[in-house]
Symmetry: C2
């Protein structure tokens, strides 16, 4: 587990680590499908124009060039990215928006999809931040309009999905852009994006410096800055935040709308995902396409890892002519979670290979009989390998042990079969048509190792 990736920022797992990742991926898929989300994948590449807004070169994007061209097909020319050049996607939201617009005629709206894929960012690698990593997204997208209830539902689905993973306790920290923006307008700060940008730095630089920023950059008065900070200071695991906001004495229609929306999410969460959700009015989210609900998620005791699941409502990410496709979605940082599970040994696979049974060879001529036994076991869903050489039984057992295979099967010349649990040494007569390992040995189990340690 202490291995270092041979290319910094591009983690690779050993087979037993991959089993933990597979368990996470399978669990997410199961929960998403139980809630009626369809799987899609988008291509790994988009055009630079699709990925970058206003032609700015975003430092996080990897462009592609074809090596066979004499001078390459450098996607950057004279300091400007060619909008027609291809680049690797850096998230799954932008490609999904393009997919929805392109395929609108083939989709039934509201369209619910999950998407689990790798994304790439050219940034400096550090703990919790890789250059290649897997995201698991769910979104619901409407045609023209999308009922607010989906905001509630998405939060509940994600809470259920995260609860099913072998990870420490978590909190969805939820806020609402309308609430924040309405409040800022209500106190006379109209550059709401500017205020959000400053508030977003609260955890990094602290309230005093944020107040300075609000005053120096946005011309806020002392009182305005204090009000904005008071709002950002509100946190509640129930709907009591509503009274706290009202107590600040600010009135604004957008504020009221946002307050009612956030109340609806928190109310449902208190009932259906108790203890998993907190209204946290400091949450801003950097990207500016969010228009309502915004969410970040922390692992309790691992807050410095950053958000492991983020997203929110966007009313205008995708459009086709006059047709708008509002959506709400959340994205789980699978690689960030799996890295943490592995580095802190939070969960482990019960063995390192899928194989439950090794069929040993009594002699070189018995390979064929052994294949018959293996085929019978497999036909009943028991993962089985056949030894490749008729070495001494001790050596074949050692081979199984080294690979982590729990059972070894022996067939005598007279056709009697026996199976040995090499962990206990217990050996019993068995028939290939009927013998079954205990359920916990049939397939690899991934389970929590210990109480999650606070760090």
């Amino acid at each position: 587990m202490a291995r270092t990736a041979s290319l910094s920022g591009f983690p690779e797992w050993l087979p037993e680590e991959r089993l933990v990742e597979l368990h996470v991926l399978d669990t997410l898929r199961r929960v998403f499908e139980l809630h009626g989300f369809s799987s899609i994948e988008t291509r790994a590449v988009e055009t630079v124009g699709q990925l970058l807004r206003k032609g700015e070169i975003d430092k996080e994007v990897y462009g592609l060039s074809r090596l066979q061209e004499d001078e390459g097909t450098n996607p950057v020319k004279e300091g400007k990215a060619d909008p027609h050049a291809l680049a690797l996607h850096f998230d799954l939201t932008v490609p999904f928006a393009r997919y929805v617009v392109e395929n609108a005629g083939y989709l039934a709206f509201p369209f619910r999809r999950y998407q689990i894929q790798k994304v790439w960012r050219g940034e400096r690698p550090q703990e919790g931040r890789a250059r290649e990593f897997t995201q698991a997204d769910i979104d619901v997208v409407g045609d023209g309009e999308l009922p607010f209830r989906y905001d509630v539902e998405i939060a509940l689905v994600i809470a259920e999905a995260l609860s099913a993973l072998p990870i420490p306790d978590f909190r969805l920290r939820i806020n609402n852009r309308k609430l924040a923006e309405g409040f800022y307008r209500g106190i006379g700060l109209d550059d709401t994006a500017g205020v959000l940008r400053s508030i977003d730095k609260l955890e990094k630089i602290g309230p005093a410096k944020v107040a300075e920023l609000l005053k120096s950059e946005l011309g806020a008065t002392d009182e305005q800055a204090q009000k904005a900070l008071q709002l950002a200071g509100i946190r509640a695991e129930d709907t009591s935040f509503v009274a706290q906001v009202q107590a600040l004495g600010v009135t604004n229609d957008l504020l009221e709308e946002g307050l009612a929306e956030l109340e609806q999410v928190v109310e449902a969460a208190v009932q259906r995902a108790p203890g998993k959700v907190v209204a946290d009015l400091s949450i801003a989210r950097g990207l500016d396409y969010y228009t309502g609900t915004v969410v970040e998620t922390v692992l309790v005791g691992h807050e410095q890892l950053g958000s492991i699941c983020s997203g929110g409502r966007y009313d205008a990410l995708a459009s086709k002519g006059n047709r708008k496709f509002p959506g709400v979605g959340l994205s789980i940082g699978v690689t960030r979670l799996v890295s943490r599970i592995l580095s802190q040994d939070l969960a482990r696979a019960s063995r390192s290979v899928p194989t439950a049974v090794l069929v040993a060879l009594a002699n070189e001529d018995s390979w064929d009989v052994a294949q018959d036994v293996a085929a019978q076991l497999r036909s009943r869903g028991i993962p089985t390998e056949v030894a490749a050489k008729a070495e001494k039984f001790g050596k074949q057992i050692k081979f199984a042990d080294r690979r982590g295979i729990p059972f070894v099967w022996f067939t005598d010349d007279d056709g009697t079969h026996q199976v040995k649990d090499i962990r206990t040494g217990e050996q019993v007569v068995a028939a290939p048509e009927t013998w079954t390992p205990p359920a916990e040995d049939l397939t690899v189990q991934v389970s929590t190792v210990s109480e999650p340690a606070a760090v």
Copy 2:
């Protein structure tokens, strides 16, 4: 299904098409794991030096550059690829070889792995050839040596895996490099790689032109060229090819070794995968790292699609100092298969969404009760959605119909529950704790539509 990818060579599937792909991927995974193969993934990028041999610029490789650098980080400089630059992998064998060498100390050999990932090639797109596509590989790699039996096993596992897919009948066309090279040496043609290159063109240009090539480029006599072509003309679904080769009267130790190996594979296949394997002595395989068994696979009636599964034995792909890691493996072209299944309508998903049940809303206040019903159904593995709005029941049923959801659930004010099969109109009283849809409606089924049509 007649949609065109918005970027040529980068196919994307609609949700109901993705269900067919998922079925293929799940089936392959199940078979591979039943045979004890461990899942791994490697990063999508390698260094150019790792990917390209002898520094030649291979036209198929996409290099990466970071867009934020002023002039980009063009991986090509003055017509030469920078070996330290990053590029997308074009297959899963080269990355796997690197992975084995890097992690040799953590792996138990012989190491069996499957790997299902996307790969990228910058070539001109055409039917059956995409720029981004998914491969599913299995390999067994040994430390120092690897018993030949794994060649037999790999072929059988692949035959079993392909048989489990909703595809037309297929043939594994198997040859052996030792057999071919030994034969060429035996008739006095020592540039065996050159002969293989010419023989590889047999299907494209025909025997007369191949004979010309052998004579003009390799200085073969008429008789040598004819012998080489006679060998390449041998095909047999059983071990009768051995006698046919021997009848050509060529003796060579390597030839004998290859003949015995190929006989062993075909003998086992005749018994365990009858009709699925053919000894085809024209198979050459372009890449030069193969050293024994070589395999290509065609779909019967779809031969012009090209090979859907290829690979073989490589004794020297990976090494670490004096330590050699011989391997044998096969790679299934998943995207090629799925494209064909979809374009020819060979298989279809039973519905386009995972959802089996839509819980309807009697009125806006019933959302909470509906969520309780949904949670109960989901807890028993039944994929369930809740309607977002209390529209007229007719509208809610239409919504389910449009999404392909087979059942709609109604809860009366008095707490009675009913469930309607909207395909038949049949409606029954049901309890959320016990009602279960028929097995074929519980999850999406993917099945063959019709007899595979010859093209």
